[in-house]
């Protein structure tokens, strides 16, 4: 009998399953280290995604700009952050989006952690 995988709520460890699933998406995001590639993506998002072979789930997640959807499509936080960088989103924007909070509410949650 295989043990059910251990679940940590709201968390998707980037394991072999995710790494296999998300390879094309992460490879595209890795390319965004280069400013010329970021510009090329902005100029033609669909063409750029095709060039990296994103599947429909991944392409839809990119179009949606929703980080939770990108993670579900196999995205890794470190590479996805380079995608977010194109839109000048900071980590509080991304945290707010994923937790369904306003940015101010998310920042308040972080500040409150000092008083745990």
């Amino acid at each position: 009998m295989t043990q059910p995988a251990r679940q940590i709520p709201g968390t998707t460890p980037f394991d072999g399953t995710q790494a296999r699933k998300g390879y094309a998406l992460n490879k595209m995001c890795f390319s965004f280290n280069d400013a010329a590639n970021r510009d090329a993506f902005v100029a033609d998002e669909e063409g750029y995604m095709r060039r990296y072979g994103l599947n429909e789930e991944q392409a839809a997640a990119i179009r949606s700009r929703q980080v939770l959807q990108l993670i579900a499509a196999g995205g890794n936080a470190y590479y996805l952050a380079k995608f977010a960088g194109i839109f000048k989103l900071d980590m509080q924007d991304i945290g707010a989006q994923q937790t369904g909070m306003s940015k101010a509410e998310f920042q308040a949650k972080l500040n409150a952690a000092a008083f745990q």
Partner: protein, 281 residues
């Protein structure tokens, strides 16, 4: 033999690079973070290490998922920073130390660590920021970067990282050199960037972990990678770097290291930030 003077640990966050570039150190948001560093700089000014071994994790600048080493040791004469994609200024190259690199590589493989060696290696903010925080002017030390995978599971266990740190420390102490060496850990403490659990911080665990490094450094080796994610957040696992640093300092016995300074501040960006300087007694 070379002298290992002690170890330093600090959080790294891209936003720190922007704050330094824009001179925001004394702004209300940043002051409690940056004010932690002067006592450490003073100690470094007295000890004057010649070189540092930096334990850090790459965030997708040098390594992609096509080849993801668990442990990678730099063997370059110079390490360049580059565009990381999120808008932080690119910093000046850092000078390597090839003699120490190859001494470490030989020692580690001899001790059965199957490391990857890198004669070319871009270093990201995780490697460059600690040096800027500890030496705000020109960097007076040469470096050997040691990258530990925290990107893709399976991650090396805390126990294995501790053993790696011990071997690095043994290598430094057995190096036939008159140089003074320090070890640096870059990462942590608790934080999580991804998922509905984004914003997770665990102050009690962080404080217990920092305490443990002084007199009970093997405490955290009881945890597996998922335990650490649960306790510290998915990027909090970067505390593995701190464990390697402390292990390098040698004996786990109480009194083996002296705590020079520490700071802990919540939050910078999404992170509970920590700073520690430990001197070898």
């Amino acid at each position: 033999m070379a002298q290992l003077i002690g170890g330093l640990a600090t959080s790294h966050i891209p936003a720190i690079g922007n704050a330094i570039a824009r001179g925001l150190q004394q702004e209300t948001y940043w002051k409690p973070f940056f004010d932690g560093y002067p006592p450490v700089r003073q100690w470094l000014g007295e000890e004057r290490p010649d070189m540092v071994v930096v334990f850090y994790n790459d965030h997708g600048l040098n390594f992609f998922l096509d080849k993801m080493p668990t442990f990678a040791v730099g063997a370059a004469a110079q390490y360049h920073n580059a565009d990381e994609g999120w808008g932080i200024p690119t910093t000046a190259p850092l000078n390597g130390d090839l003699d120490l690199s190859w001494h470490l590589i030989n020692h580690l493989v001899d001790k059965e660590f199957d490391i990857t060696t890198c004669q070319e290696m871009l270093v990201d903010h995780a490697c460059t920021l600690p040096l800027k925080l500890f030496w705000p002017g020109d960097c007076p030390v040469t470096i050997v970067p040691v990258a530990i995978n925290t990107v893709q599971f399976p991650l090396p266990s805390a126990k294995r990282v501790y053993a790696l740190g011990q071997a690095v420390g043994d290598a430094i102490r057995s190096w036939d050199s008159t140089k003074k060496v320090a070890v640096i850990a870059s990462g942590g403490l608790s934080h999580q960037l991804d998922g509905e659990r984004a914003g997770f911080i665990n102050k009690a665990f962080d404080l217990k972990f920092m305490d443990s490094l002084v007199n009970d450094p093997q405490w955290a080796t009881q945890f597996n990678s998922l335990d650490l994610v649960e306790q510290t957040g998915s990027q909090g696992v970067e505390l593995l770097m701190w464990l390697a640093m402390r292990a390098a300092l040698g004996s786990a016995a109480p009194g083996a290291v002296r705590e020079v300074h520490r700071n802990y501040h919540i939050p910078i960006s999404n992170t509970a930030t920590g700073l520690m300087a430990l001197a070898c007694a």
